[in-house]
Amino acid sequence: MSQTHAAPQETVQPEMQAGAEVLLRALKEQGVEVIFGYPGGAVLPIYDAIFQQNAIRHILVRHEQAAVHAAEGYARSTGRVGCVLVTSGPGATNAVTGLVDALMDSIPIVCLTGQVPTHLIGNDAFQEADTTGITRPATKHNYLVKRSEDLARVVHEAFYVARSGRPGPVVIDLPKDILINKAPYTAAATTEHRSYRPVTAPDAGQIAKAVAALKSARRPMIYTGGGVINSGQAASDALIKFVRKTGFPITNTLMGLGAYPSNDKQFLGMLGMHGTYEANLAMHGCDVMLNIGARFDDRVTGRLNAFSPNSRKIHIDIDRSSINKNVPVEIPIVADAGLAIEALLAAWDNEPAEVDTASLAKWWEQIETWRALDCLKYTQVQTKGGIIKPQYAIQRLYDITRESGRETFISTEVGQHQMWAAQYYRFDRPKHWMTSGGLGTMGYGLPAAMGVQVAHPDALCIDIAGEASILMNIQEMSTLAQYRLPVKVFILNNQYMGMVRQWQELLHGSRYSESYTAALPDFVKLAESFHGVGLRATSVDQLDDVIREMIASDRPVIADICVDQKENCFPMIPSGAAHNEMILGAEHGNRAPGVTDDGMALV
């Protein structure tokens, strides 16, 4: 059909709305259901827009740091991007710890920060801070929106950057006039990003090389980290398949716990500074190592020049800069963990070589002799009035929550209790374990559990805490009360900053400088004052009842578990030592190597 008259070209004028409304519309398009935030002058237009809608729920925290940790808990337990809203100046600076925490642990967060109006930027205005300057090294990327026409595009792009490749936190700094002035709405771009296009598919040639190396192994070892968790459930499923198919031993990093069921016989436990004897010695002694989504962190490697000295190493990571950063590897593979494991599975059957099963059997025999040492052994007196060992408290928590059959999420603060939780709580699914691994942020666990509970209202969300860490974000008990979030805080109370005390005992001649917390609050009364339930166990015969009462309650609970003050966290690889120079617990006569001067300088 011929047309004599072309239809008159209409230039579609994009709809104009107030910036704050455009912002919320873009958030909705990105699937945001919950924002963790705290209002202030610069973000009042956003709060006004939130007031006039119901699609996005706002959780009012009591401190901006907690808002970010809550969003992290939300993101880690759901696999979605966590969203945060804070005001300018102190609102933004308070959020920085949370942002760095998310950066170190690769958690997708979009943090909206208020800013003074564009014409006041640089004038030292009230509540002004150079937020993009301050958060540049604290985020994966950040934006300052200076033109209304950029607003919608920047919001969409921020979510893309936060969740793509190696996930991370993204800040959008929003001057108040941009929020008030009319802005055009644009939908999310369907085209590729101009410059950020992370590689996710593995190179087939490298996968083939990896399979050949693994099949030639006599003492293989698989070591996986948070990359498998971030990749999603499918990656964990593929990992289980691959490990079973190969018959190889596997260990997880602190961030990677839950990717492989920890009660499985091929699982050697966590590795690293407080990892198991068998996992660390297997890492030290293996001849081919497959690292999937872990980054050879110093807490894992110990002394670098003695780290797994005789192994050929394969490293799969979505972030090219994680490869060959600390440990040179022979076969690098830049890819998403899940896609890479699928590719390994597919290539495994195509490679004609067979695994040397005789050698593998011998390797397992060796591993079993290490496992037989039972490095996590401890002695709990069961007599009435017996003092509670912290390890026993975690073990009972695990047993009783498991018996309850409820879906259970565990978060932690940072210190001894965190390591005991990693050692004694057995994870069998990804995304149910939230801990501050990279940054080691005390005060992480309570707000993180809060974020998890918001996403999973019917689940059991427990923060395993220490009495020192919990005080760093204790104000969030008030948030729990306001939103009826029945988070459980399980405090292993030894009245010391336990990990500091442990290092002082082992490395600083038992000079306990400033690690004893005098004048602790009464945690039972504290819970009650925040409209929660306070419970306490001071002896082993009370422990089970307290745990049962805690998980049966439909309210927020603080369970103050008074544990052995002198207990240390073992096994331990002292700073600057190698995997085969581990200190074991009292049960094993504290076999200890000397700590080197270089090691003393390490943290």
Binding site: T132, G133, R136, P137, K140, H141, N142, L144, K146, V161, G165, R166, R194, S195, Y196, P198, K313, D319, R320, S321, I323, N324, K325, P328, V329, E330
Partner: protein
């Protein structure tokens, strides 16, 4: 695998989105991670001024230089990164404005050497010369060494601009 500890110099070119803060991002990456910057140049290189090219001369072991490349490459506004010193032959040039004060014999000698080095006189008074000189870094260094005893008073250098030889583009 044994770690190669030999230090080498590297000229890295980075094509970036020309957005606010990009230079701070690149420089902050170097200072935050403890890498050296021996020289740095930056300017828009496209018609719409949408993209800039940053040339950085740095040094480190091969593992560190690979790491610098990977770290630069994962910055969101970075389009491309090339280590010109290993990706093939390349040209690297910088420009310097060199002020030499002096009279008499030294002044004559300075001018004579400048001619030999193909430095251009861009300003002159009875007591001074300003030479403009373009060349590889070591050529500029050699000329400055010669000028030092002849009254070298002030230098302004651009830092290195570099590009691959032949048909290869970044």
């Amino acid at each position: 695998m044994p770690i190669d500890t030999t230090l080498r110099s590297a000229t890295i070119s980075v094509l970036v989105e020309n957005e606010p803060g990009i230079l701070a991002r690149v420089v902050g990456l170097f200072s935050g991670r403890g890498y050296n910057i021996d020289s740095l140049t930056v300017a828009p290189v496209e018609d719409g001024r949408n993209r800039s090219r940053i040339n950085i001369v740095t040094s480190g072991t091969d593992m560190i230089i690979q790491q610098i490349k990977a770290q630069l490459d994962r910055l969101v506004p970075v389009h491309r990164v090339s280590d010109l010193s290993t990706d093939g032959p390349h040209i690297a040039r910088e420009m310097a404005l060199i002020k030499v004060l002096g009279t008499g014999e030294k002044r004559v000698e300075a001018l004579r050497l400048a001619e030999a080095f193909r430095a251009r006189v861009v300003d002159a008074t009875t007591g001074s010369f300003i030479f403009e000189m373009t060349g590889a870094t070591d050529k500029l260094d050699a000329f400055l060494d010669l000028m030092r005893p002849l009254g070298l008073a002030e230098v302004s250098r651009t830092g290195v601009a570099a590009i691959a030889r032949g048909t290869r583009i970044i």
